[in-house]
Symmetry: C2
Subunit: 413 residues, 2 copies
């Protein structure tokens, strides 16, 4: 193997056990909440016909799609997001899917993007969507499920910033000109979470608005309250148990993407800082555009990496540094059967147990447990064998206890 | 979207909710057992430098690796198996990994193979391995963990067919000729699970052995008992709780791959039929060959698809046809808050609950629950609201019960 070989490809990541455990924990917790809301799991292939993906995300994005020609001369491409494959699913399996299709999907996507801090070429997307309903109830469900997913992970402060794309469009349309369409205005307004109002006005002016008009546009947004549609959605979310304080109307919230048609929102975790950890909204025309079946939709995409980072930073994850709770040591060759029996009994009781896979000095076995941060070691020597006992060593304190096997099992059950 | 677009790429699969749920269930159960044995999760990227993968699996296999040139002119390739990337991990993170590294890995791999029944171009591999130990204890652990993974899924008959590659080599070496090396003999012997002894003898003769010699080779294997190494491994597995009857010495078991150096085994599920559901063994030289670090290893790869199929066929999976246990119906606009509240309370109690996402005729809502096979529907009408009750309808019997909200929650908790 040459040296080049022994590298992870640029922009890609290995997840060693400690990090992978954290990711698995977050995935498990949020999946539980998704299922509690009736969302069903879906998996689509990593590879699709390139023609399915290209031209769906805009010209700039097309350059980021990993595509190539396979040995059968097919143009194929790696998953770029989960929405386009799901649009294919909705078209391809019409009649097989329920009228209201709630699905969650947690898979990796691929983007040939410039690698930079926090941006990778393979990363996990985590989406929930309700297809088939135009009711505000579906919007409320998406908000509530997003809120409770973060709640389940232990976040104390969760803010869902909300707006209505219809209101935004209606308010901004009078300010459009021949040169500046409403989506261009929205894209600039969208920067208000990172830029000051003065900077945003300057950008609007640069785009061709008179300064007066630019300022008036912002004032118009600021003084317009939530739409009846948004009020109904918020009321629904509260009735579903979402804390009223977590539902924050933000008249400037724009969301970059063109395809939203109603409620839009972003998830903020104020304990962890400013930028959003996910976002979504209603997109009633997109599935038709993508897959040719007219299915209204509302959903959210969670930033999985950011969610894991935030949970780690805030100490919300279990502190296990090791999968195993107990290392069963091996005293010597003659006492092997006793160690094996104890390991078998602990596992029977579903206790995560590692058997030291060698006959070695006890000191070395303790050192191994220490390095791997396995919290307890069990020792069975001749004396213990005769007394039908085991020694349990707490690696954090060094304390040792004599216990019967059943006492040991009970202690960890 | 043209018609071509709306197809799943040939050789690839969509997993709609019912199938995905089954797969998730199997993955969850076996992962639990892996962790109970102290195996730690690992994830490697889908893409690697092509030079890492090519030349590692043999010339024939190289043709099956999906490889292409990315926009940065790098030659890259899709994951072909989990062993080569793990060899990279062992080399790249030397010193960061524990001396005895137990890892499990469940990820998809890609092979540009001819699609045929039961063979796909993307499929899930599921591996456990112990790196760093030459002790028979590690072999016993792999056997026991394999056994208990299938046990946990509910399989009643589990057979681990065992042999020792060393014994096989020693027994067959005297029969090699200038034309037939020992691996060629092993490849033919390996067919004894599907071919008769007469057919295998014929193939050996075709390869250049005298008929007498070919027959003697088989007799030699048949009359040689398990090696001391294999006996120790079997004793260890029994001490770890494996049923003695499940450990079957098979002197003809060969395993196709060249790299095994000690114990080899295959997992059979006799209730489901003849072919193996997984297999593995000891391969003490492979990691050095692949990654340049001398690490002994023993492990097993489960056939994930076959395991899921077998579990489905034998009725071992939960019968839920729907994720949701309860559909909370919506009586009318004015009673919406009651329905939302009930849905919220059920979910608070971790009961999987779907809210009907529209105001619609009750009949339609029942029909929806029926089609989706949601077993229960909750109805809250004016009368129930006043009496602080709900109606629970059992969709399988049509029976209806009046309950308080707390009785409802209790019933499903």
């Amino acid at each position: 193997m040459t040296k080049t070989n022994l590298q992870t490809l640029k922009g890609f990541r290995d997840f060693l056990p400690e990090e992978k455990r954290n990711r698995d924990y977050v995935e498990k917790k949020i999946s539980e909440v998704f299922e509690r809301f009736g969302f069903e799991p879906l998996e689509t292939p990593t590879l699709e016909y390139a023609s399915l993906l290209l031209g769906k995300y805009g010209d700039e994005a097309d350059k980021l799609v990993y595509s190539f020609t396979d040995r059968g001369e097919r143009e194929i491409a790696l998953r770029y997001d989960q929405t386009v494959p799901t649009a294919r699913i909705l078209a391809q399996y019409q009649g097989q899917l329920p009228k209201y299709f709630r699905r969650y999907q947690i898979q990796n996507v691929f983007r040939a993007d410039k690698p930079q801090k926090g941006r990778y070429r393979e990363f996990t997307q985590c989406d929930i969507d309700i297809f088939g309903s135009t009711s505000t109830l579906a919007d409320s469900e998406i908000l509530a499920c997003s809120y409770f997913a973060y709640k389940e992970l232990g976040f104390k402060e969760i803010a869902l910033n909300l707006n209505d794309r219809q209101t935004l469009m209606a308010n901004l349309t009078p300010f459009t000109t021949d040169k500046v369409d409403v989506f261009s205005l929205i894209q600039t307004i969208d920067k208000l979470d990172k830029k000051t109002q003065i900077e945003v006005v300057a950008e609007l002016v640069e785009k061709g608005l008179a300064e007066e008009q630019a300022k008036l546009a912002l004032t118009t947004l600021q003084t317009t309250g939530p739409s009846d549609n948004l009020k109904a959605i918020i009321d629904g979310a509260i009735a579903l148990g979402v804390d009223e304080k977590s539902l924050v109307f933000n008249p400037f919230l724009a969301r970059g993407l063109d395809y939203y048609t109603g409620m839009i929102f972003e998830i903020l975790l104020p304990e962890y800082g400013g930028s959003s950890s996910g976002g979504g909204g209603r997109y009633d025309k997109l599935i038709d555009n993508l897959g040719g079946v007219d299915v209204p939709a509302v959903g959210v995409a969670f930033g999985f990496d950011r969610t894991v980072e935030a949970a780690v930073a805030l100490g919300l994850l279990p502190e296990n540094k090791s999968t195993s709770q107990i290392l069963v040591s091996v005293f010597d060759e003659s006492l092997l059967p006793e160690s094996l029996k104890v390991a078998g009994e602990l596992r029977k009781a579903k206790i995560k147990t590692e058997l030291y896979p060698a006959v070695d000095k006890l000191g070395k076995q303790f050192k191994y447990a220490d390095q791997k941060q396995i919290p307890f070691v069990v020792i069975i020597g001749e004396e213990e064998k005769l007394a039908n006992q085991v020694v349990l060593k707490d690696m954090s304190t060094g304390q040792q206890f004599k216990l019967s096997l059943s006492e040991l099992v009970e202690r960890f059950s």
